[in-house]
């Protein structure tokens, strides 16, 4: 039941905040803050719940032992829809991130939003509720419901409280996500009917749909449907162009949620659904995904450098950073996956903080154009110091969380694809270029326009301090996060392995995955599954 | 009965042609009434006397009277025929006629494909119609009555001259 409360609390909090607007405009802020804090407390309770013993290797354990908390109620049995929410370590981390960033988003818009405060918080809280739902749903129908639920409030956040070009940005965002969402729906239905044809059971339940047998071509197309929906959210390079617009035009809280959370739903979808549901097709696709990821890393970084609008610059850095996540997910070994999860969390916090910083600057000097800034360090050293910190986090300075994420992703993917990992590493140089450019252009140099502005004070310093602590903690002692995620990722990996064992039709992609016979532990892995590296399963089975 | 059908069909077609070609609205209206009466005869020859009567009473009677009233209210005057002639330039006929002929050809072709010179079976009297009308079709009748009511309200609302307009004309 705790899971449904996690969703209902922000949902109701939003409604109450909306109505309380009439009494006092400060009330919605407090109500949202209290609701989210309550959620946070619930999550901490889940975090400290006694750990769950890892099931023995090679067994996909279904049912309650997999989860920290689970809720499974039949809803529309005729269609096989059930209200199935479940939380494992991965979901817990992402929901924690959601609530944490939600709190910072509320706090960062404390003075920025003065217009329709209640409605703003309604939208904010509903987006958060939708995102939490996405991270918890284990029924594809429910998942799709939450997936769509988070879009519409987001659309309003951009379209009503955004900046100059907000309608264009909001519509673009909506069309991109909606079209890709429809592809997702088609793919879900396709999977649903194929599963029903195979087994006669109509169900949307994730665990039952795992391992559905289908023709390779069908699997590929369904995988593509899932992939595109998540790739648009992530975003992967050719479908990324909604992101700079949306991020730039959204209000600060909207940008924080977009960059910190909405993008993560794409990564989560790839991790939880695309690869486990369609492992063979996904691995066949992996080389292309690597190429796209590498292009995204470099292209995003170069374009970030090219921007003159500070917020747009930060937006492009997200494309670059999420390229690492894509790389890590498709590398699909423990190191890379852990790195991807770490990158998801740290990017959420660091980029969220950068957006809050940009928002704070815009509130003070009413421009985002970097050409109109310069030398702000002298007048606002705290803002400068905090910005420097997050710029360094963004460029992957060791000792900060982002470095752990990027390093592990590269380390893991190096094992799978040397070229991709090596070229992706060049992205670190490009990241240096744009991160330092921000500092130079905004805080260093002469104060040409004679800006005078108030420095960060209480509220803002608290937000920033919390985010700095998280990043430093994750940079120096990330093990608690790895422990939480490890169990969930282990389950996901095992589910894929089992599918591959159950259906002895290893494709070429299987070889790619263990193609580097050079490296010993891949060879070990193969032995466990029962193949010789580089030899397809058919040969082993004598077919 | 066959002769009645053919003759009245010819009359109906001819008078309908006049309806769409006449320049004067009242003349056209009169031709339409003739056409309707001819069709009433066709109905009779097709074994539907009740409907034939309805056609005469409601169509040729009530509905046409509406037209007459409206034309009278508009009070178009002598210039209207010339204007109508100007509006009806000969070149305008070509396109519609071609389209319509194609449509007709298709209709005839469709009918001819299933050509079975099917004869009619029997006369269906008012009694049977009444039983069916107030039996299985009762809801339809109710709906029709509601439609008529809506039409009444709509016509009343639309036909009313709003005050501003009246003031404007009074000046």
């Amino acid at each position: 039941m705790i899971l449904i409360w996690l969703i209902i609390i922000p949902f109701l909090g939003g409604i109450i905040a909306w109505y309380s607007d009439r009494l006092n405009t400060a009330l919605p802020r407090w109500i949202s803050l209290i609701a989210l804090t309550f959620d946070f407390a619930l999550l901490l309770a889940l975090w400290f719940k006694p750990g769950i013993v890892l099931p023995p290797a090679g067994n996909l354990v279904q049912g309650s032992t997999m989860w920290l908390a689970e809720l499974d109620r039949s809803w529309v049995p005729q269609l096989g829809i059930s209200l199935h929410l479940a939380m494992d370590g991965l979901s817990l981390l992402l929901v924690l991130l959601t609530v944490f960033l939600g709190i910072t988003a509320v706090a960062s818009s404390w003075t920025e939003i003065q217009d329709r405060v209640g409605f703003f918080h309604l939208n904010l809280m509903w987006v958060l509720a939708g995102i939490i739902g996405v991270f918890l749903a284990m029924d594809l129908f429910i998942f799709y419901f939450f997936w769509e639920l988070m879009l519409i409030p987001m659309y309003f956040l951009i379209a009503l409280w955004g900046h100059e070009n907000r309608f264009y940005a909001a519509v673009k965002f909506f069309i991109f996500t909606q079209v890709s969402g429809l592809l997702l729906l088609i793919a879900i239905l396709g999977l649903y009917f194929i599963h029903a044809r195979n087994t006669g059971v109509y169900t949307f339940d994730y665990l039952q749909l795992l391992g559905t047998y289908m023709q390779p071509a069908t699997e590929f197309w369904l995988m593509l449907g899932f992939l595109i929906a998540f790739a648009v959210k992530l975003p992967v390079v050719p479908v990324h162009t909604w992101l700079p617009e949306a991020h730039t035009e959204a209000p600060t809280a909207g940008s924080v949620i977009l960059a910190g959370l909405l993008l993560k739903t794409g990564a989560y979808g790839l991790l939880r659904f695309t690869i486990p549901l369609f492992p063979r097709a996904a691995f066949e696709f992996a080389p292309i995904a690597f190429v796209l990821a590498v292009i995204g890393i470099l292209y995003g970084a170069v374009l970030a450098f090219a921007q003159t609008d500070l917020k747009r610059l930060v937006a492009y850095t997200s494309i670059s950073h999420m390229g690492f996540v894509l790389l890590g997910i498709f590398a699909w070994n423990e190191t890379a996956l852990q790195g991807a999860v770490m990158q998801i969390i740290c990017h959420g916090v660091a980029t969220g903080a950068l957006f809050i910083l940009v928002g704070a600057l815009q509130e003070r000097i009413h421009t985002r154009e970097m050409g109109r800034m310069g030398g702000l360090w002298a007048t606002a050293p705290r803002i400068g110091g905090v910005a420097l910190f997050f710029a360094l986090a963004s460029l992957g300075l060791p000792g900060l969380g982002n470095f752990i994420g990027e390093f592990l992703v590269l380390l893991g993917s190096f094992r799978v694809n040397i070229a991709a990992a090596s070229v992706a590493a060049v992205g670190l140089i490009a990241a240096t270029v744009y991160a330092l450019w921000i500092i130079q252009r905004v805080f260093h140099g002469p104060n040409t326009f004679n800006w005078r502005m108030p420095d960060f004070r209480g509220r803002e310093m608290i937000i920033m301090a919390a985010m700095i602590i998280v990043i430093v903690w994750l940079g120096l002692y990330p093990q608690p996060v790895f422990n939480k995620a490890g169990q969930a990722l282990g389950n996901l990996q095992r589910s894929v392995d089992i599918i591959e064992i159950a259906k002895p039709r290893l494709s070429r992609a299987g070889d790619t995955r263990r193609g580097l016979s050079l490296f010993t532990d891949e060879a070990k892995r193969s032995r466990r599954i029962g193949t010789v590296p580089g030899v397809p399963m058919e040969a082993v089975n004598g077919r | 009965m066959n002769d009645l059908f053919y003759v009245s069909a010819a009359v109906a077609i001819l008078s309908t042609v006049m309806v769409i070609t006449k320049l004067n609205a009242v003349h056209a209206l009169l031709y339409l009434i003739i056409s309707l009466l001819a069709i009433a005869l066709v109905f009779y020859s097709l074994g539907a006397p009740f409907v034939a009567a309805l056609e005469v009473i409601i169509y040729a009677g009530a509905i046409m009277v509406l037209f007459v009233f409206v034309i009278m209210m508009l009070n178009l005057g002598p210039g209207s025929a010339e204007q109508e002639k100007w509006m009806l330039s000969p070149g305008m006929w070509i396109g519609p006629v071609v389209l319509v002929i194609i449509l007709m050809a298709e209709l005839v072709y469709a009918l001819a494909r299933s050509a079975l010179r099917m004869p009619g079976i029997a006369m269906v009297g008012p009694r049977q119609v009444g039983i069916a009308l107030f039996g299985p079709y009762l809801i339809g009748v109710e709906l029709a009555s509601m439609l008529l009511l809506a039409g009444l309200v709509g016509a009343f609302h639309l036909g009313r001259r709003d005050k501003q307009q009246a003031i404007g004309e009074g000046r």
Partner: protein, 102 residues
Amino acid sequence: MASVPVEYGLILAGILFILGLLGVLVRRNIIFILLSIEVMLNSAGLAFIAAGYRWGQPDGQIMFFFILAMAATEVAVGLALALQFYNKTRTLDTDAASRMRG
């Protein structure tokens, strides 16, 4: 009683229908358009009657009854619109009412 072939009735309905259609397409005067629509409705009714005649069932006539009700309503509303239109534009030319062009 040698009866009329049903096809003939249908063909007559078709001819009347396309004549009405022609009227709608060609005439610009709203009164004539309404008249032509009456012709088309009537021909549709004729088609129903012919069908009912073929099967000897009352359903065709009942359909005609409904068409009749609809035609009456349509004429009432249509003529009211025509009056209103004439009051506004001082003409019956439908092409004058083309403010909705893109």
